[in-house]
Amino acid sequence: MTDKKTPLLDELEKGPWPSFVTEMKKAAEKSPAAADLLLQLEKSYRDRKGYWKHGGIVGVRGYGGGVIGRYTDLPEEFPNLTEFHTMRINQPAGWFYNTDALRTICDIWEKHGSGLTNFHGSTGDIIMLGMQTEHLQPAFDDFSEAGFDLGGSGSDLRTPSCCVGPARCEYACYDTLDACHNITNTFQDEIHRPMWPYKFKIKFSGCANDCTASIARSDCSVIGTWRDSLRIDQDAVKEYVANGLNIQERVCDKCPTSALKFNPETKELTVNAEDCSRCMHCINVMPKAIQPGKEKGASILIGGKSTIVLSAFMSWVIVPFMKMESENDYEEFKDLLNRIWDWWDEHGKTRERIGETIYRLGMSKFLREVGLPAVPQMVFRPRANPYVFWPQDEIKK
């Protein structure tokens, strides 16, 4: 199989960055489908277009999503790609693995699929790339047996994901892994059975650095923050000074709220906590000297998504601060999600993301109906037009 010629793709085995072509060739050694994939891709490279048929609905028992059906446009040329579906496997929170688990995945995939995979897909799943319809159920059975479950696809809750958080990051303001795992488990039905106007994504970042890019990539972003003051260790500040850091220039001058004062005489750094917007900049530059505050939690934002249809949206604040420590806190968050989903279910058009529904119907309606108090933290600035929808029960009749 692999001795068929792929001159264009071979070019992509050159150069220092690890080559996906090499990976495909490795897979092609063992899998006729992977071998055909290599050839179809070579043809795509030659012709500068893709050769996959449009869509196709396949799945496993008990699930409404988790599998993306895929069929080649050229079944005669590439018979092993006649069916070449992907299966989305929900990753463990934080993308941590022990090698046993990984090897098990590999073994299952060797048995049922092309041997090609993405670690990970853009949403966060493990992508099992390319399998036949008849293997779907057995592969799922094996994954389930091994403790793995499907991720989301279609108009459902997509696989939530989270940053490395407290597992390895000193900035984490809440336990992103625990929150992600807990909430993922609560919403198994929502993940596995599409029932909404469109997809819904949740991402958990432990602080405003937002290492999951949640604000751009998820309908609901949960971003760690604190309510009190960041903490400064003055000895460590002096150490940074001694090591040559220009604190005034690199830290104070770049603080977006001008909340930091550095005294070059005493070499003390002080913060006006009321002004600090917890952007993380100073902490990023001086992690040994500055830490988040003690009263930690998260901001909840809504509406992030990419370009189609109304343009890309970034999520915006709907709850400035929510504790994220106990099961009770999670309940509060889940309760909010349920209210939002109910509202969206009632008002959303087909293929309309939550952000688009809120945009179309207005934040004031959304807030009133979902039961969230309006606060100035939700907006960069108030409305410039005077087009207030006045609740008619507030006016004189």
Partner: protein
Amino acid sequence: MAKIDIGPPHYKDMLPPVIKENYGKWRYHEIPRPGVLKHVSENGAALYSVRVGSPRLISIDFVRELCDLADKYCDGYLRFTSRNNVEFLVGDESKVEPLLAELEEKGLPVGGTGASISNIVHTQGWVHCHTPATDASGIVKAVMDDLYEYFGSMKLPARLRIGLACCLNMCGAAHCSDIAIVGVHRTPPRIDHEKVQKGTEIPSLVASCPTGAIRPNPKTKSVVVNEDKCMYCGNCYTMSPGMEILDAENDGCAILVGGKTSNARSVPSFSRMVIPFLPNNAPRWPEVTQAVRNIVEVWANNARQGERMGEWIERIGWEKFFDLAGLPFSEKLIDDYIFSRETFRTAATFKYSKN
């Protein structure tokens, strides 16, 4: 029957001992060398994370190879990052150097930390999707080969994040990247009436068009497209296989720059289009790699320390950016969609351009 709805495995089973013991207790970190993070915990323990670039589209053999390394150096644990890099989690400092040596031997690049270019978040492209306007893995490979020196070093003004999406669905969520490479179509869909008639719900198809370019045609039981109104988003094709949008001659890539998602210093921002089209010159997309390198270098040569691409451009002004980058401006780069108004220069202040 297999159990359903069991959810993912518990993350706790996936954590190496050094993390379990210091979970939530990390105190600070350093980057002893590019690609290596040293996290120190409250009680003095140290964890070394060695970050390794991956092509993301990998074989199970590759995964097994990673497992071998993790078994050898990391008590059998590893993780992946939100940008699809691999991180070896080394609890024992003495194992860092040997691991690095073996990685080097195997040709696995170490880097992506701090002021570097990390892995490119990307999508399926011709490998597995039905709507791509370009390939994904191929461009990523070509660009990362070209910018390789910036992965393994930390000499840029700040981190630089590149995202790639092979069509406007934007599965790479590239819209808030320092540099976004986006597959774009440039011709209206060609209607296959038979396919439309077969499986498509006409009202949904009509509703899917953001510009209202699609009208039902009761006569043909299909639709017509007002080509003047079409901006080739491909949303109709997502809805119906009859709206063929792929066009080998005219598909290609647009380049957008200046986005970010972190809240550090400046608020998150969208990437903005600076090159409307580059051709799909497979296998190595020289126009794209060259354009990306040019933008990276102009930024590297002009920005201040710590300044992200977009922060730098906003400080100097976009008109200045086009000058410095030697990029032509055209009306194609001016927004004409719903939120265009906020982009218009409603001010009498600007800098003059040289050209």
